[in-house]
Symmetry: D3
Subunit: 142 residues, 6 copies
């Protein structure tokens, strides 16, 4: 197998969710100082754009690394169905004790997908909270 | 004054908010049937993009219909500051008894801005709830 | 009923299709002169973006003019399912004797949707053939 | 001829230019107060996006209102070639005594194109100075 | 030469083409099962966006790694002119026996460009089949 | 500290500026031959989009690598305030003897930000001169 034949494929999906940023071990004043308006106890929300990068070698019979329809279905079943139109703090157990910053949401999504995608594929997750604020995990993709 | 010199100017702003769609006079079953996942009692959210169109004649001394910096400041002061990082149902009195659909949010924003902008200018508000779902009010701009 | 309460709602969908521009009553030379590379007899293709505007009054019980999920379903059932991943010239009977220019595709889509959407709603169709070339029908929406 | 067959076609082009906003009959202080940082005497610049809308009836032989390649060539020859990579204040005679606000640039482009495009077609020009600031002339298209 | 001075420059181009996905050594049923609607024997099509990344050191006299006008001309001459408004399966010899998936098209474009661009520059090709499906080759750029 | 926990965060900002490309040690003819219309002595301009990538480990108490509001403020204070609505050649000392190509502007911005951001964070700067022409420095982020 020749590493030089590796190619990356990307699929974008999206979900809309509410969240609130705060650290339950801090008092209100410190939460307000650090998280500002993101700390609104009544929540606010975002249209999250999710971009999943997957690396591997194209199958010589299909020309696909992975059919992007299949990748889309995996993302939809395990991420979008769980997160879309939800309150991340209240409805998603991962964020019961974890602040739903873009960084933490991205790492949770990576963890979810890493378990569902064969290890011969490298994966990387980019999550847009807004068009101007986004994050990517991991930094390197293997 | 010659109507033929009228020109339209546009300014886009954005805000991020949580909301929930439901009709309090209906039971849960009917709310679920009509509003589906938008009815999540824990709320979900969006990055709202707001585009305000204003029509009028350019001032011959400045070449501006209205300095878009001024229009931006009006929108920010009266809409964005009030709506951004808020829960529309809980934090915004307009939606105490009004379902915060894109249609109703757009008409509320129009009402707010119409009071703050001189009547010699026509205005129209377009509100994007997502890139693929948006609304515009009024249908005609006078 | 007060016309001043009319609001416009928009839904975007997309489909990918092949087409070829030519006039069967012309010879090859004239088709080549008029349609240039769009006349390739082996076809070329586009990602078409379709934006449907619908005008009406919000229902006071729901706050919707029409649930955009419903509008999306109508567009998907009657347009996207028929046009997506198709060869417009060969697979779509409307274009058996009609050149599939953006103008003609847009007017056909309008005709299809006008029959499926209640006449109390005005509709207008915008079709993007590329990001820089697009069309809209009708010019005025009633 | 049936007005109901009118359809609109759009073509987007772009140009990059420098400009400065000021009124030569005002003193520096007033120019600074009104135009702020846009009054920098050394100029600043923009990537202008230009969208031309043209209305008319499709030609039954071609299915085109106007071949968008032809419309693109008209815009490039008469607007883009003259404005691109230019200093609007210094290089474009139209702005010798006219402040190059988005409004005035848009109206000048309309005037240029109106002379080059057959009067049986309606035209309207939208000019984006930035993604968030743009203008459109005329308000109604005939 | 100091690797720390390397910088990446990018140029985006686009082409519109028709294609069909299938494996000629399979029967219709298996092609249908694997490629679904992408297997339409009458073809479908896309607006392909092509982004070429080139790495190298800026020339101290010009400040350019490579004039992006030059890079654009190379891409246009060797890729866009050959692929635009074509049927990839029928008109492009590379795909006579190679399934024109996004992966294979991307690798072919890389091969074409790698022969035309000096080896002191690293290159990487990203190809968007739709806004939500895209690929990149090679995974690492040297 | 576990490198595997590193994540990248991104913030986009923008500024509008004028510039001219030329090499003062060359005569007009050579500058014209190399820089073409970018050499206009009266300047032209762009809407520059600036994307800053920062890598590091999320703070376990906040879930942030760096609050993107803080990163935004650093970029605005040290880059946008200095470059926005300016003539890069005349108003920005860095370009007194350095040709303001996208490559050089990007490397200058990197240098400015690298001094203001703690060295435990890796940074990389992407600068869009237009939607189709952009650059990124450094090639690798540590």
């Amino acid at each position: 197998m020749n590493a030089g034949n590796k190619i990356a494929v990307f699929r974008k999906e999206h979900f809309n969710a509410a969240h609130r940023l705060f650290n339950p071990s801090w008092d209100d004043q410190r939460n307000e100082a650090v998280f500002g308006k993101c700390n609104n106890p009544n929540y606010h929300g975002h249209n999250y754009e999710l971009m999943v990068k997957l690396t591997g070698e194209p199958d010589p019979e299909t020309g696909f690394v992975m059919d992007l329809k299949v990748l889309s279905d995996i993302i939809k079943e395990h991420v979008v169905e769980r997160f879309d139109h939800k309150n991340l703090n209240l409805d998603i157990p991962y964020f019961k004790d974890l602040n739903p910053t873009a960084e933490n949401i991205c790492m949770v999504i990576y963890t979810i997908l890493r378990e569902k995608i064969d290890l011969r594929f490298g994966i990387q997750v980019r999550l847009y909270e807004t068009e101007r604020n986004f994050v990517e995990y991991p930094v390197d993709i293997n």
